[in-house]
């Protein structure tokens, strides 16, 4: 080997490393992204609608008080609240949920500790244990799974820490392992989507369902509510196509492209979240269909989907309200002061149609 070879190699290596480092620095240095026409979210935050309780309306249903749960009364203002988020804040629902909790804590002047499990259940368990160790007196948990909470619940009940779960339930005894659950009724959302679909299509014809991710209670419940209501109220509507597109816009688009080719007579598409519905809109656009030729009904209420109603592509959006902050803190506050709170608090979700989409666009998240 020539004596210059090692030198050259070392030189090449240094160059490579330097090149990698500089390009990484350049990458972020002078970014200039497209103007976001749908932006300006901060300005409309004031219009955000907090949640309204749907049931129990008049104190019916099982409730829970602090004497039954254990622990002592306290003032929420002097307490520390821990919040454990399940998924990373990459979709509008999670972003709005975390923001709402943080805003409410700030408004009430409560010290808030937060953690994000990044969709890993084992991380969520250790997150909650960390929150307890850091001195959280009360907990708000957005659970990733329903099962597997025993170690956390044991640790919490040893310290008499009240727990409120939001958006998903955990399989444990209410008022013993946790205080209450605040969330939407997903079956009811499916039923209301079915009502919208019946109204939009006139109750006759063939429709398709874009399912969410398999093995998820949101998917099964939104499917069940929709199919049962269609069967019961509009036997003329036939569900001829059911494919999972995993809550993603890209899959919603490619499956819808295939759908509208093999079944050109399809009248409506029910998408179990907004993203899949927006993918279906993309597919219809590129197939040269006119807005409203195929009726699309979706669930969630993100800004893009509500904008889709304004543009005429989407016939209805059933809201799934992520702003748990006010209700969660109100529940914890009443409970800590010794009042009775309901074990199951189902929230009232609104909906968007052609009539209110434009005026309520600011309420969408």
């Amino acid at each position: 080997m020539k004596p210059t070879a090692p030198l050259r190699r070392a030189c090449a290596r240094t160059l490579l490393a330097a090149g990698l480092a500089t390009s990484l620095a350049l990458m972020t240095g002078c970014a200039k992204s497209e103007d976001d026409s749908g932006g300006d979210r901060g300005a409309s935050q004031g219009k955000d609608a907090g949640q309204v309780v749907a049931s129990p309306s008049g104190g019916t249903g099982p409730s829970c008080a602090i004497d039954a749960y254990g622990g002592e009364k306290r003032d929420l203002k002097s307490a520390t609240v821990g919040f454990s988020q399940s998924e990373k804040e990459a979709n509008p629902f999670r972003i709005a949920e975390t923001a709402s909790i943080k805003a409410e804590a700030q408004q009430r002047g409560v010290k808030l500790l937060t953690a994000n499990a990044q969709s890993q259940f084992s991380k969520q368990i250790s997150d909650v244990q960390d929150l307890i160790a850091k001195g959280a007196d009360l907990l708000v948990i957005a659970p990733l799974n329903s099962d597997g909470w025993e170690p956390v619940l044991r640790a919490a009940s040893a310290k008499h820490i009240p727990i409120v779960t939001v958006d998903r339930k955990i399989n444990a005894a209410a008022c013993k392992d946790y205080v209450s659950f605040i969330g939407s009724d997903f079956v009811e959302q499916g039923r209301r989507a079915a009502d919208r679909m019946i109204g939009a299509t006139g109750g006759k014809g063939e429709i398709a369902v874009l399912l969410g991710a398999a093995g998820n209670n949101v998917t099964t419940e939104r499917t069940k509510g929709f199919e049962d209501r269609i069967k019961e109220k509009a036997p003329g509507l036939k569900i001829v196509f059911r494919q999972t597109t995993e809550f993603s816009r890209e899959k919603g688009q490619s499956v819808t492209e295939n759908l509208i080719q093999s079944r050109p007579g399809i009248k409506g598409i029910y998408a179990e979240n907004d993203e899949m519905g927006l993918g279906a809109v993309n597919a219809l656009k590129s197939a040269g269909k006119k807005p409203g030729a195929v009726k699309i009904v979706t669930i969630d209420g993100t800004r893009n989907a509500v904008q889709g109603i304004v543009d005429g592509w989407i016939s209805g959006v059933i809201e799934s309200n992520p702003r748990f902050g006010p209700l969660a803190f109100q529940t914890l506050d009443s409970f800590a002061r010794g009042e009775k709170v309901a074990q199951d608090i189902v929230i009232q979700d609104s909906s968007y149609t052609k009539d209110n989409a434009e005026s309520d666009l600011g309420k969408a998240y």
Partner: protein
């Protein structure tokens, strides 16, 4: 082998197997097409073929780069994450216009390929481990740059995603052009010969004085650049940048297309025509099941059957 071929029956069997290895994937595509012409309503329409061509384009382009990496007895697991990185960069730099943004996105892919290639060639890390590292890093970087889905309003990109020339979608044209280019490079260029020689036996290639390190780095750079192009095209089609889900499991689809197309994982041979047919086969399989509204779990099972069949057919080649 020599002993076996003395017996006439064995010769026939051997030849049949060889034929199956070389042309089985084309037979599969043909069989699926025939099935769909007969049993799927509205399949034989120009609109349908356009849709299929558009849907297969990103997988196909990624598979081309993967074929090169597998030809050197390596693999590139980072392709899906590089697609995500490319979509993030594209969205971040779109303010400068679509061309500049595309160039920067592809440059991001080149840098990611350079990192994997340097790890493989200079540090001597196994390709599967080196590209696993870049897979994690690129996805992470993509999410740091753009944490959530962002819509793309640029009319140029939208035209790229849904426009066509004489009825052929842009995406399909670009994929076809890249396939021809890569096929030419593999068959006719010195670089292609060196790549195959390295895949056949790296020590022999080194002893023969081939620039092993340089060729390896260039192969991973090409793979990264192709994945980045696929990311740009996928973004244009979706008219949104979605680094959280774009390209997930893309590496598996690409490896499947390459393996089904008859490129051996042991390196030293690259079949571009087969790779294209492999990607088309997987696409047709998925489409057939979707159009007939069969449960999606069936698609995965069907893909598994195709992979096992392809690897079974390729088994003899490994012993040669």
């Amino acid at each position: 082998m020599t002993e076996l071929s003395l017996a006439p029956g064995a010769v026939d069997r051997d030849r049949a197997l060889r034929l199956l290895q070389d042309y089985g994937v084309y037979g599969g595509v043909l069989a699926l097409l025939l099935f769909n012409f007969v049993f799927t309503p509205h399949f034989a329409s120009a609109e349908n073929f356009r849709t299929q061509a558009v849907q297969v384009a990103p997988v196909l382009i990624v598979a081309l780069g993967m074929a090169l990496a597998i030809g050197t007895e390596g693999v590139d697991l980072s392709v899906g994450s590089v697609m995500a990185l490319s979509t993030s960069l594209l969205s971040l730099y779109l303010g400068y216009g679509p061309w500049t943004a595309t160039l920067i996105a592809v440059a991001g892919g080149v840098v990611a390929g350079l990192a994997s290639g340097a790890l493989v060639a200079f540090v001597g890390v196994q390709p599967i481990v080196a590209t696993l590292a870049s897979m994690v890093a690129a996805r992470g970087l993509a999410l740091v740059l753009l944490p959530q889905l962002k819509d793309v309003h640029d009319p140029g990109l939208a035209a790229l995603g849904s426009g066509d020339v004489l009825g052929v979608p842009h995406l399909a044209l670009i994929a076809a052009a890249l396939a021809l280019l890569v096929a030419f490079v593999v068959r006719r260029s010195t670089f292609g010969r060196q790549l195959l020689a390295i895949g056949d036996s790296r020590p022999a290639a080194r002893l023969a004085g081939l620039p092993v390190r340089r060729v390896l780095v260039v192969v991973y750079v090409c793979s990264g650049a192709l994945a980045a192009i696929a990311g740009v095209l996928a973004t244009a089609r979706l008219t949104a940048s979605d680094p959280t889900s774009l390209g997930t499991l893309m590496e598996l689809s690409a490896i499947t297309a390459v393996v089904v197309g008859g490129t051996p994982l042991s390196g030293g041979r690259v079949r571009i025509g087969g790779t294209v047919a492999g990607a088309v086969l997987i696409q047709l399989l998925t489409t057939t099941l979707v159009k007939h509204d069969l449960p999606p779990s069936w698609t995965q099972i069907a893909q598994a059957v195709v992979i096992v069949a392809a690897v079974y057919a390729a088994r003899e080649r490994g012993k040669r």
